[in-house]
């Protein structure tokens, strides 16, 4: 790559960073109350919320890790990336109830909804907050690492320097503008990902001539070797299941589709929507944006397979480099958009998980331990300092503890599901879900998540988090069935019937 190209990529990426910063600074003017700072509650229309939801759901893993997995194991992971219907499903299941909760009390965080549903039960709020915090930190560290390494690989810059420049700026605008700035910058970053996706999708057809050619190349290429690196191809790569155990493909249908409703980055966006009747439009906008991003990941992987299979590029030593190898082959316009899109994916998810972690530490956990702030201003000030602190610590942690970040990388989506399903999905769909059941479900979820992190093994090839989610739901429902129902106030009763 020439110096001129590198300079243009840096310029393009840093222009995106600058626009994000300006949006964040502008958004600060819209933040007047704790409810707006922590939740952006009831402030936005479906287009902004839709783009922001897609950007927050599609992390750097979606654009870097997924094409890598598709390149090395075939199509199974496409079930995850083509799960665009999940948004409509999530809003059908829980959209009106989550939004309605914001009408019966002060809702600016997930902990507030837990309080309203379970009579301010501190144990439930505390356990849920710890599990969600674990998932958030895992995601946050992975985004910082991916974003920093992107420029380390490209320019040879120190990851610490890059990390502090990119994620330092992100931490500043997130801390000062809270969820309002977070949501608007994510919407902008989502737009960058969609535009990049459209460009790469068109270029895929130009380069390969279409999917038929890719199928033919992958089915017949055999094994290609260059230096020490070999890549074996075969027709089974291209069937629906790929070459992983098929139970993994099964999990990658159920977990992303149903799991979307349990992701904090989707749940919090349900109450950020101004008018709940716009929820179907939100499903459409988020779904369409996700379709482009999902197809983007698919064509990148197929493009890389085609280029390696036809000998146009060498087999990849690291599968996760598929997107960069493909962009580098396409040339300047693709490089500009691909690098910016990966950075946008990392930044949007990072800002989302930074505000979520900040809310948990500054708002939900203190109130779970009985600490209340005297004024909204004081609470927002504490949150700003907390977000800033978490941002700096996360940058240091993610760039100095590679092994721990890799272990935490297995957390994330499944862990967040296991922390939210007992409280919100079972809790809001069923009046019979009581405090005892949900507490036991969350406690088991926390223990099993940590045990799995420590190396606990599960039967079969199924990803471990499927077992944890199943156990926590079974425990929640079973204990609730055999213990007394909680008292439910009139307003909550109205929400549950909605």
């Amino acid at each position: 790559m020439t110096t001129a190209v590198k300079v243009m990529i840096i310029g393009f990426s840093f222009a995106m960073l600058l626009v994000s910063l300006l949006i964040g600074l502008w958004a600060k003017r819209k933040v007047n109350t704790a409810k707006e700072y922590f939740g952006g509650t009831g402030l936005f229309g479906p287009a902004a919320v839709g783009l922001s939801s897609t950007a927050a759901v599609a992390s750097a893993f979606a654009l870097v890790g997924v094409p890598g997995l598709l390149y090395s194991t075939g199509n199974a992971m496409n079930f995850w990336m083509l799960s665009s219907a999940a948004f409509a499903m999530a809003y059908i299941i829980l959209g009106k109830k989550i939004r309605a909760m914001a009408e019966i009390g002060e809702v600016a965080s997930l902990g507030d909804i837990s309080d309203l549903r379970f009579n301010n039960n501190r144990l439930i709020k505390g356990l849920m907050s710890v599990i969600i915090f674990l998932g958030c930190i895992a995601y946050l560290a992975a985004q910082i690492k991916a974003g920093s390494e992107l420029f380390n690989n490209l320019l040879g810059w120190s990851p610490i320097v890059t990390g502090f420049i990119i994620f330092g700026v992100l931490t500043v605008y997130t801390a000062i503008s809270g969820e309002v700035g977070g949501l608007l910058t994510q919407a902008f970053q989502g737009l960058v990902m969609v535009v990049a996706g459209l460009i790469i999708i068109v270029s895929f057809f130009v380069i390969t001539g279409g999917f038929g050619n890719v199928l033919e190349v992958v089915s017949n290429a055999g094994t290609i070797t260059a230096g020490d690196v070999s890549k074996s191809f075969g027709p089974d790569f291209m069937n629906a299941w790929g070459i992983l155990p098929k139970s993994v493909a099964m999990a990658w249908v159920i977990i992303p589709i149903l799991g979307t409703v349990g992701q904090p980055q989707v749940l919090t966006r349900m109450y950020a929507l101004k008018d709940p009747k716009d929820m179907p439009k939100l499903g459409l906008y988020a779904g369409l944006a996700h379709m482009v991003v999902g197809f983007f990941a698919l064509v990148v992987a197929y493009g890389a397979l085609y280029l390696v299979g036809t000998g146009k590029i060498d087999p990849l030593a690291v599968a996760d480099n598929a997107i960069f190898a493909y962009a580098d082959y396409l040339g300047l316009y693709a490089q500009l958009f691909v690098y910016a899109a990966v950075l946008a994916a990392a930044m949007s998810s990072a800002s989302m998980f930074l505000t979520l972690s900040g809310n948990i530490i500054a708002r939900d956990l203190p109130s779970a331990f009985g600490k209340e702030f005297k004024s909204e201003e004081k609470q927002m000030k504490v949150a700003q300092i907390t977000i800033f602190g978490i941002g700096i610590l996360s940058i240091l942690f993610s760039l100095t503890s590679a092994e721990m970040v890799a272990i935490l990388g297995t957390f994330g989506w499944g862990t967040l599901m296991s922390g939210t399903f007992p409280v919100f999905i079972i809790g809001l769909l069923w009046k019979g879900a009581n405090s005892k059941g949900v507490t036991v479900g969350l406690l088991l979820s926390l223990i099993l998540n940590v045990a799995s992190l420590m190396g606990m093994t599960w039967p079969g090839a199924l990803p471990w988090y499927v077992n944890v989610i199943a156990i926590s739901i079974l425990a929640t429902v079973t204990i609730s069935l055999f213990t007394k129902e909680d008292h439910m106030d009139e307003k909550l009763d109205l929400v549950m019937d909605l």
Binding site: A88, M89, L215, M238, V466, D497
Partner: protein, 151 residues
């Protein structure tokens, strides 16, 4: 369709389905697992779409049931064509895709989006009408006023 007395039964079924899907996954019984997965999602949506324990028949007829059928067919055809062409290049393609994967693209991805998202927009009032939302807000306001008056 009234689900007032069936809600607990549906939630118990959901919990059992999670358990069953996990066990099926341990033993690589992925096709029954996928079919049960569709049922699991369907039941969640039935609970989500209900208003005052009533589930709209219109919303069941479209989009919920067609969505479930489209996905079951998608998984069945994907598996059938994967088995037919195991280890060999297929002798035909659908839009250039391996026939097995084409059903993922056409039915799981596009079909799923078209049924659920389009149906949701088309029948949004069956999920939550303006009058139901306004009535909910009015009742909340009445309770709030009652609580203030009682102080």
């Amino acid at each position: 369709m009234d689900i007032q007395g069936k809600r607990t039964g549906i939630i118990v079924t959901i919990a059992l389905l999670w358990g069953a899907i996990s066990v099926l996954g341990w033993y690589e019984m992925y096709m029954p697992g996928l079919y049960l997965g569709v049922l699991l999602m369907f039941l969640h949506m039935v609970l989500g779409v209900s208003v005052n324990h009533k589930v709209s028949k219109k919303f069941l007829i479209f989009p919920l049931i067609p969505w479930a059928v489209v996905w079951v067919i998608s998984f069945y055809l994907s598996n059938m064509h994967a088995n037919i062409f195991t280890g060999v290049m297929p002798n035909f393609t659908i839009l250039g895709f391996h026939p097995s994967f084409s059903w993922t693209v056409l039915l799981y991805w596009i079909g799923g989006m078209l049924t659920l998202t389009w149906g949701f927009i088309l029948y949004k009032d069956e999920w939550l009408s303006s009058s139901e939302w306004d009535e909910f807000k009015r009742k909340v306001e009445l309770i709030d006023q009652g609580q203030k008056g009682g102080r």
